[in-house]
Symmetry: C2
Subunit: 610 residues, 2 copies
């Protein structure tokens, strides 16, 4: 292990340590600093531009010369995915590189939302009380807003009222209030920023974006594991826990975690969590329900009825969020029991509903949500794709962390693997398994049914047949890494679920697969998969690669859009209302389609006859 | 001490023990069962009618024969103030005797509010979910209310939503919801009563009324000491505590106390506190602010600016009230720092604002609030009448509890006293001190300046002059009970503050005192004073006694009216807006008026030249 270097990310004010030689992109990812990327850090998309403000980095790569203009190079711009840290550095992240949202612009659908949040800041300057004017603080403010701002009939939230009286007396009867409709939701000091928080609450991880509601700019972004993971790795095990023990522990755990994340986010910018005047949250339906303390048992019993689908507005304090005492929490609508507000966020962020040509948005995970847009009509479904893509149920599977094999290349007898952070291989993450199967298929080592053909790399063990990917002496664990027929079968089930979901949406809309003009792949796993491999095994339709976009955490971007724009919020509600959700299990053709989709072949899955 | 008898009050379901021979009225008072009374338990007003359902009581008194009809006597009706318990009994309290509200009707201004609460109960019967209809619970209810009840765009409170999902599944998709505007605030079971709670939060005591919001009837009423009393007996000492230690302890203490009271109220009727869907609270401005966690320091610093005067609506859960999770708390508006929502409640309950002839409402306490109504115009003021009426700062003073002298009669050398519950005398409560001074004045033992004249009962001690009321051998404490010149001077200050408050309101309205057609005296102390005595010492204008009404806890009645009627609620807000509040200390004539009002003489205080 080499020496550590200090990295200071600007303007978000995030400081961290990284190993000598680490790529800036990977350091940023690990620290939860969301850098734009379409290629997943391969130096080809040119989206992860950063500017080196001071300190030493690796020399300019030829691929960087192609992506950057001479002027940019002169100014110190580099691609974060190709630039390695070789000393203490200070890095400026331009706003267009900072957030996933900006990737979407690049991917064709500009989502430059006009900043028009549901709350507005107003600076008030009241006349001080006197013997002849001892109106209450509340009446004094209400009169001021009526007379000076033409806002009669305002109400003041009790939490805001508690703040107001103190601030007025300390600050010479001046304050900066946040108005939401006719309600004063927070009272702060003149000059305070009006802050908002967008949250994507995932089963595995939570991403939060601290946002300036007057500029719409993200001030700091940060991720953490969902601490509920201690009570079950997936949605169903969490729901089981809630059924057995009540949902309170899960609710408190995730709220405590989010409060910690908010404190960290705010301290990065030396801001107070009490300045956050509005919170928007997305999550899958189960995470949404557990967060709000809603009953989840019906979510896992047919016919899978959620407690709430519509958007929900409640005081953030009702949930225990430690933000401004008067702040509201807004949750985007859910579509169905297994298509949640996070997917609505994806649809909003990607602009799928506005596309004029047929397009599909897929958010791949343990549960995969798919929406097809045809002539403004939206159809959605969910597929139980299982945990194989997260490395679970795979013999040498693991989560996508350092040392996980994410790429595999087979040429004749030679097997090459790439790992996350270039660490010695420890196992296979989802994209690695998918890549390995695609390569085995390409090399003719397995057939369409996922069965091994005779080949020098294939061995017989008591577990059945398996293929050696990494021999003992090259493995980071000291044990060999192999792929078994059972592993392949797990991926067949997962990819079959997704492919049949897409197929049934297409059938329902009566359009053939090759008319899909756009496939948007959202979510952490989807960002890192090799699309060509996914096509090869028949998981995605064999469209030209340029029709695919891998957009990262689009759900979080959707939350941010709904945070900074009430128009976008209304749009999200409109989207949720318009989506026609199909229950695949209730669809007569489903068993046949699914059985067919198990085959590892584009041709078998994607036929023009449907 | 004699043996105890069991008394069972019906229909409120209150059981207690009382000493053999105790009057039913006193037993009811001690137990917080509010019985109607204008005469304070003297057998003259005939308002405290009760019906003996079983058991033995004292024989019929001649005064009862005058007050009760033959039919009533045949049915077992008695006057509670004249009837003594001589065995275990069961007593029915007719609704017209149960509550102070009914006294008001009797006192001339019918306040039979139409029952139109801000919430309404709706019974819903939803179609159960199925494979082809898996709308969320929220969407299912919203659709039902839109289609069946013509109520589009409803929102469901998060707390109600949590209840709803469980109830629907347990009760065959039926529920009874409470709708407030467009918000579903609670979800209960079909057949549940729609409950409301009215609270009068006093500095010394808390009164709460559990009310059926569909009939407007009080189901149970109960009082308790304000547990904040541990942190100071009066408003100023509580505020001082809050300034020194923060207001949280006081807030939590009173909320915990109220929650206990609510549990007791509900258990009397075997109802659940979670059924309470709306809470209305009145209190003086300081109690109101401490209850809501609002800053109180400005209340005791000139110019005495409250944080809030307007009515306030917030979720009851925001304050920690353990009622329905979705219930709202509504607080009536305050008028000024020392004229609070409780006084608005008095004005609402007494109908003062509607009176066509000049009328005054007075709520006497440590702080006394006075409002004058002339031609629909309301003028209010507050007077620092001090704690003398509560027995404080009086040598042998005490609170109005059993054994306190409440009436004094002096004939020549003979002094007769009456005590609460006819117990051996322990000291003087406020009405006793007031009575004693009036009698001393009548007997010529003191002069208008409150100085003793030569008289056999007057003695010189190291404390100065004093008058012997109860000799050692007749006293319950074994010590003699006397009234000192200093005691008289305390009462002079108190009554002077009240008389000068009334005088200045009259001057401001430019009407002479004798045009006052009605004087309404509210509050616990005011209910028990001898009006003739108060007139004699110049505290109240010397009007014919029939122009006075002693209405008891009118503030609580006001809260109840605002609970059961949104029209009354709007009226309360209108009253608070219209009141013209006068700050006495800022009034130029005040020092002269106050100095004059110290004299113990109607003629000195109430002169036609103003």
């Amino acid at each position: 292990m080499g020496r550590n270097c200090r990295i200071d990310f600007q303007p978000i004010g995030r400081r961290t340590q990284a190993e000598w030689g680490a790529r800036i992109f990977q350091v940023a990812c690990k620290e939860g600093v969301g850098l734009a990327s379409l290629c997943g850090g391969k130096g080809t998309c040119g989206k992860c531009k950063v500017r080196i403000l001071s300190g030493e980095v690796s020399p300019l790569d030829d691929r960087e010369k192609r992506s950057l203009s001479a002027e940019e190079i002169a100014q110190g711009y580099r691609l974060a995915c190709l630039t390695r840290v070789v000393g203490d550095i200070q890095v400026d992240i331009p706003i267009e590189s900072l957030l996933v949202s900006q990737r979407l612009q690049v991917s064709g659908e500009g989502r430059d939302a006009v900043v028009d949040p549901v709350i507005q800041a107003i600076t008030v300057s009241l006349s001080p009380p006197s013997q002849t004017d001892n109106r209450s603080d509340q009446a004094r403010l209400a009169d001021y807003l009526a007379e000076t701002c033409g806002l009669p009939h305002i109400q003041i939230d009790l939490g805001a009222q508690r703040q107001l009286s103190t601030i007025l007396r300390e600050d010479d009867w001046q304050a900066r209030i946040a108005l939401r409709g006719t309600e004063v939701v927070t009272a702060g000091r003149v000059g305070d920023r009006l802050l908002g928080l967008a949250v994507d609450l995932g089963t595995t991880s939570i991403a939060a974006y601290l946002t300036d509601l007057e500029t719409g700019k993200v001030l700091a972004a940060k991720g953490m594991m969902n601490p509920q993971i201690a009570y079950g790795e997936d949605v169903v095990s969490r729901i089981s826990y809630a059924i057995d023990h009540g949902g309170e522990t899960l609710q408190r755990t995730v709220v405590d975690g989010l409060n910690r994340l908010v404190r960290e986010l705010c301290s990065e910018r030396e801001l107070a969590p009490e300045g956050i005047a509005e919170v928007v949250l997305v999550g899958n339906t189960a995470m949404h329900h557990l967060f709000l303390g809603l009953p989840v048992r019906p979510l896992i019993l047919a016919p899978y009825v959620p407690a709430v689908t519509g958007s929900l507005v409640t005081k953030a304090r009702d949930i225990g969020l430690a933000v401004s005492p008067g702040a509201y929490l807004y949750t985007l609508p859910n579509i169905a029991g297994f298509v949640g507000a996070d997917h609505v966020g994806v649809l909003l962020a990607t602009g799928l509903y506005e596309m004029r040509t047929p397009a599909i948005a897929i958010d791949i995970g343990t549960n995969t949500e798919i929406t097809l847009s045809v002539n403004g009509q939206l159809r959605s479904c969910s597929c139980a794709s299982g945990p194989a893509f997260e490395g679970a149920h795979i013999k040498d599977g693991m989560r996508a962390v350092a040392g996980a094999i994410e790429r595999v290349r087979i040429d004749g007898d030679s097997v090459a693997v790439e790992t996350i952070d270039d660490q010695p291989p420890l196992g296979l993450c989802g994209s690695g398994v998918l890549d390995a199967i695609a390569e085995l298929l390409r090399a003719g080592i397995i057939d369409e049914m996922g069965k091994f053909r005779p080949h020098p790399g294939v061995r017989h063990t008591e577990r059945g047949k398996e293929f050696l990917l990494v021999p003992r002496d090259q493995s980071g664990t000291g044990k060999e890494i192999t792929l078994t027929e059972k592993d392949i079968s797990e991926i067949q089930l997962a990819k079959g679920a997704i492919a049949s979901g897409i197929s049934i949406l297409l059938k329902n809309a009566q359009i053939p697969w090759h008319e899909i003009d756009r496939v948007i792949i959202a979510g952490a796993f989807g960002t890192y998969i090799n699309v060509a491999s996914a096509i090869r095994i028949g998981m995605l339709p064999p469209l030209p690669v340029h029709r695919f976009s891998q957009v990262g955490n689009a759900a979080g971007v959707g939350a941010k859009l709904a945070l900074i724009s009430k128009t976008q919020r209304q749009m999200a509600e409109e989207i949720a209302r318009q989506v026609n959700h199909l229950e695949l299990t209730g669809y007569p053709a489903y068993p046949r389609v699914f059985a067919n989709a198990l085959r590892l072949s584009p041709a078998a899955n994607w036929r023009d006859d449907g």
